[in-house]
Amino acid sequence: MGLESLRCKECGAEYPLDASYVCERCFGPLEVAYDLGGVDPAETKRKIQAGSHGIWRYSDFLPFSEQPPAARGALEPGLTPLIRAERLAERLGLREVWVKNDAANPTHSFKDRVVAVALAKARELGFETVACASTGNLANAVAAHAAAAGLDSYVFVPSDLEEQKLLATGVYGTTLVGVRGTYDDVNRLCTQLSEARGWAFVNVNLRPYYAEGSKTLAFETVEQLGWALPDRVVCPIASGSLFTKLGRGFEEWRSLGLVDGELPRFSGAQATGCDPVAEAFEAGQEICRPRQRPETIAKSLAIGNPADGPYALELARSSGGGIDSVTDDEIRDGIRLLAETTGVFTETAGGVTTAVLARLAERGDIDPGERVVLYITGEGLKTLDATKESFHMHEIEPTLEDFDARVREAAGSAA
């Protein structure tokens, strides 16, 4: 078992394992190819279980020929809680719902997984400066992991991002660049910059490696379910990279016999204000019509031109799942629903995912016997504005009388 090459997902052309991401023959995306022959499932399970308490326990399935040096460093992401959400399931009329709370990572989103892998690769390839085009969570992760590794960093974001996400990036001493434009404008600029500068753009020229980090969410799900697969996953879609790599992670372990059973149904979640993949799914198309001006409170999902859109569509269709989009009001309700029933406070992207689960349940798309895993990819404290005015605070004088008059009456016997 080991690494083979970078391979084009479109035409299969092979390239050396360096900092490249585009096929020169057909312009398709490159992906890391592994030789997974000769794997003994029992031995591999033992090795994983004896491994680190985070994503490096899955090093055999990550794009390194040797244990990456970052494995010894701080900020190791992964092994986030998988919580049985009984009250959420009950509220939705479902039997078995699990919440994978990936806000419980070092910088509070799933992006720590992909960045840990990309930065380890950047160091292996000899880069001294890392960079990214981000909708916010990636910015936090790149700035923090670069600080931990002692690398210089440049972080490019749309300038109108949530204040919390800007603050939680700038604090790490990165060079934070707010671009006046959409995420797709930022992405185009970074694609141009990646040619002109000798930097490791984690989601441009290192994207084939970076994306592999998302497979660890699939591996953890299997391990935490007792080496079993869910029947359905509900997962947000921005570029579609997380969604498709979750699929690849499950497939790799199925093909090796580390887990048995069918691939789960893949239900994708987008916001109505930026839903190119959901629209293409609904219309039966194979490619997405890009969005020029996304308008949604779910800014972390506001990618108008999703790079992995075609593959996300294929996966949703081939697995018997689907892709839905929800409005800003449904997103706010989703945040509340998750918080009230599980104690997990998620950002707007998690509101999208929870709202789509509620939609699927309401529509009767989910068989009551299904085991469903809901992927919560980010932390509520990063998008606080979305919860403003969603509840009332009782303001009182510090007296028993005022408490009785204003709170007990309003809240009834519960207070």
Binding site: E10, S20, Y21, V22, C23, E24, R25, C26, F27, G28, P29, A133, Y183, D184, D185, N187, R188, C190, T191, Q192, S194, E195, F201, N203, V204, R207, A238, S239, G240, S241, I287, R289, P290, Q292, I303, N305, P306, A307, D308, P310
Partner: protein, 90 residues
Amino acid sequence: MAVTVKIPAQLRIVTDGEEAIEVEGATVGEVLDAVFARHGDLEERITENGDLRRFVNVYVGGEDIRFRDGLGTEVSDGDEIQILPAVAGG
């Protein structure tokens, strides 16, 4: 109308290393045909059945041509047309 077409690093192996190519044309389609006339190998790498492949982005003055008229998008003298991979980000 003379416009400049900027070639991404991944495609310069078929443009003899040229980064920017100046050609004539009234639309993006005509401009690209003029570029293909000079560098024939470029055509099959970025187009398929007369249309752009699905992972190719083309911008005129920084704007994605899919938000205008696609290959029929009109160009003006001095415009810069940029070809970029569509497989980054997220």
